[in-house]
Subunit: 239 residues, 2 copies
DNA sequence: ACCTGAACACCGTTCAAGT
DNA sequence: ACCTGAACACCGTTCAAGT
């Protein structure tokens, strides 16, 4: 089948096993995430890809969580932040950036799950935070409220993406898995009237429409909801 | 050390290995979650607790995800739904129920994580949905909007609880792990002015206050935000 | 027919020992 | 001093073989 059977390592077919560096590890991990999905990016699989043993990775990466965070930050480089410096209604531009962020996470729901538990803190994530804060400031949102608002917006976007983990490529796409849909179809109208009235309508609506509606709810919400501790915004609050 | 060394199985010290049933498995799993935490409730560990091999569990439980869902539904039995039928402002009562739901999940953040990915569909969860829908109906929220609103409220509560997975008992409690706090302290004011101005204030605020503020934001938000497809509420929407 | 021992195909992380 | 082979302590899930 092949003219060139895999030669032993002595022949220099691969780039002669490049020296391990943190950057190299992360780059390889990103490539692996893109080609095989997050669930294949394990310490052992990654080590194999780098032609070494898993123990060697621990010299550069503290653990799996940190690796995932690094990969996510890399991917966040493709979030479109241009709307910050564009013209037009600031809430529309806010929704655009958040939609772009969500789109990136939608391609890697497993990373969204990680991000929910281990908050990212890389350069690309800081850029995203800065962009969102700039837009909220432009919109006249008080700084103390903006701090909590960005958190809420990103949490919603991240959680929405994370929800899609589990049903990846292989899964039969909502055929058997959606136990909730089945449960809702069989709800007894006498004991749970409101649920019965909603039926599976509870699950209706295209993902995109629900997402944008969610962003709008949050924006309208925080514009109408001052922080409970509304005093002068201090840089360092007590605890 | 002990007067009664563990006798061989022939002596009936244990309840003679009760027959396996789905209910029995779930009950044992719940007990195990309470005593040792979710991360210890693996198919193998659970089988060991039930004095059998892991393969036997698969007769009653499809997989780990389904097991987790069953355990969660059991725990949701302790969510306080009484405020539905109480008096007083409906939004306050809504916040009370949601706070109770969040409190339950806070004790088992790992289950919150599962719930985010595999939507629950058990009896206790349906009760919760019914209660929330009843309250929204009482508040005069249009049914179509209420459907999306409960989703949003529960997603926020669940995601907030899920964020606490990972830092359990063992972790040094935010000493080294919080890389974001460190990153925020070192932000350069010239390149990221808004972030620098916020500083670690971005992370400030007691969890309880932020949670309630979040609920209020969502409530004020959906009260001000009609669904984009606002027509007559149909039981079965298109796709 | 029902149940399960044993195997398959993996994991993350550590550390003693090598270079 | 730096790196890593090998081990430790686990996983979920399947299926051929038993009762």
């Amino acid at each position: 089948m092949s003219a060139h059977p895999d030669a032993p390592r002595s022949r220099r077919e691969r780039p002669a096993k490049p020296a391990l560096t943190r950057a190299g590890i992360v780059t390889t991990a990103v490539a692996l995430v893109r080609s095989e999905g997050l669930q294949r990016v394990t310490m052992r699989r990654l080590a194999q890809e780098l032609d070494t043993g898993p123990a060697s990775l621990y010299v550069y990466v503290r653990n799996t969580a940190e690796l995932h965070a690094a990969v996510l930050d890399e991917l966040l480089g493709s979030v479109d932040l241009a709307p910050v410096r564009a013209t037009g209604d600031w809430t529309d531009r806010l929704v655009q950036i958040l939609t772009s962020y969500t789109a990136v996470l939608f391609e890697h729901p497993g990373l969204a799950q990680s991000a929910l538990v281990a908050r990212p803190s890389g350069e690309r994530y800081l850029d995203l935070l800065e962009a969102l804060l700039a837009l909220l400031a432009a919109g006249g949102v008080p700084a103390d409220r903006a701090a909590w608002a960005v958190d809420l917006l990103l949490q919603f976007a991240t959680a929405t993406a994370a929800e899609h983990a589990g049903r990846g490529a292989d899964r039969p796409a909502g055929e058997e898995w959606d136990a909730l849909a089945t449960a809702l179809r069989d709800v007894a109208a006498d004991t749970r009237p409101h649920l019965a009235a909603q039926g599976t309508g509870l699950l209706s609506g295209a993902g995109g429409a629900r997402l944008v509606w969610g962003f709008r709810v949050l924006i309208n919400g925080f514009l109408h909801t001052p922080r409970p501790d509304a005093v002068a915004p201090a840089a360092d609050g007590p605890a």
